[in-house]
Symmetry: C2
Amino acid sequence: MSLLVVGSVGLDTVYTPFDKMEDALGGSATYISLASSYFTGPIHFVGVVGEDFPNVYIKLLENHNIDLEGLQVIKGGKTFRWAAKYHYDLNVRDTLLTELNVFQSFNPVIPKKFQKAQFVCLGNIDPTLQLRVLAQLENPRFVVCDTMNYWIEGKKKELLELIKKVNVLIINDSEARLLAQEPNLIKSAKMIRELGPEILIIKKGEHGALLFVEDQIFSAPAYPLEMIFDPTGAGDSFAGGFTGYLHRTQDLGPDNMKCAVIYGSAMASFCVEKFSIKGLEDLEYLRVQDRFREFRKLSRFDEKE
Amino acid sequence: MSLLVVGSVGLDTVYTPFDKMEDALGGSATYISLASSYFTGPIHFVGVVGEDFPNVYIKLLENHNIDLEGLQVIKGGKTFRWAAKYHYDLNVRDTLLTELNVFQSFNPVIPKKFQKAQFVCLGNIDPTLQLRVLAQLENPRFVVCDTMNYWIEGKKKELLELIKKVNVLIINDSEARLLAQEPNLIKSAKMIRELGPEILIIKKGEHGALLFVEDQIFSAPAYPLEMIFDPTGAGDSFAGGFTGYLHRTQDLGPDNMKCAVIYGSAMASFCVEKFSIKGLEDLEYLRVQDRFREFRKLSRFDEKE
């Protein structure tokens, strides 16, 4: 059974102090699929683009064993476009443009053969659409869901309905505080898990991530990078690596979930090391495993007997 | 050979949303000494207070095997006072009062028997005074130094002179960025180590700490606390636990240094769990070791073979 990925597909124009790129392949479903493609395949992909979507990007996705049967191409439509400029301090970003285009009326239709999906990763899109995806699935075993402050603020009711139905919610630290209305992150996590998701992951950017599973907390370090080229897609790459690894291993126990968080963090680190999706284009699984081991070195300590 | 601690001693008035306390025992030397006293002793203590300094605090320090021969009591003088109010979000603090009093003209004098100190922890005070301490020591083997943004901004020249002479610099993440004038923390660390200290620790509050030693980076998690009663003294407790553990074990290799960072983090977590110094008053070493093991559980991951 394949991993189902649903989310946005877009053409990104990104400026950083180091480089710029126009109409690059972007979107949450894109980054999730590419990251997860190093762990499992084929990836069942659902999204929407316009007729202007370059064929070279279709090829790129297909070359990563991503099954595009669920990609709607709207005749005469224009693909979702997003433009942003990162400051020298890459934590600061100005959004220059958000053109929804065909994404405005996106209604995710899950092809028959995708409906039996056991593992699902819902990329960051309107929670109403994420709910519509779940309604079309037969009996998913494991649903991972990403969201953002925009939906916490604007579609809280729908989001609360959604997170009751997912197994894992992935958000960042400021979103966790916003959702729980509580400054203490550990208390926020407890409150959010009471709203539904049995497993919660709080991403903290350069500070790593926290996993809350059963009665355990796991603190994952961030990979120490002296140079971040482009933070775009880091969170999606995390979600893709996390879900992809779990799909590969089919083990949902807490110990394996911790490893999945490290693989997610590894994919995020590959993503931000290069511009746009370049860091996820030509990886080898051996390099991913090497990075996993580097994460272990980074956080391992033992007292002498 | 004992551990030498030099820093401030004060009477703190602290308001948090949960409690308040007037004229509590405070100051960097106080927190460092108390935290390190669980690892080694006697602690050789150097500081200054006024005649108003309560005798009960003298007793409290002495009961922790802290040798106060280096504590100057200025006749007719008033002890350093500091008052602050923490907000509901404990990361936000308003300083209500800073009365230097006898601290204004503090000239640290290291008693003869303290001058052979091999391990030294310089608490956060004016770098000019920290330099004066070092000038009185015979041949210290291992000097740990804390500082803050106030000195980075106001006494940069003296601070740069100082950090050439220390083995370990401990600062927080915003101070590291300020000192290096660089937003990327990993690059900042590299730049700061080029200024002198062979070992650098960057504290990140609720996000843990980073240790840079030899060619290794170690990422320590923060202890997950649902309730922080009073953040005052957390950084000093970290420095005390770190230096105390190294003094106890006399092993300055990178692997033991990682354990020392965890013991420092453990002492900081005990500190903030209770108001003022209460969390450091009646600990047992067994509880400290238990917490060390909890840190291991928090960060340990392993892939199945």
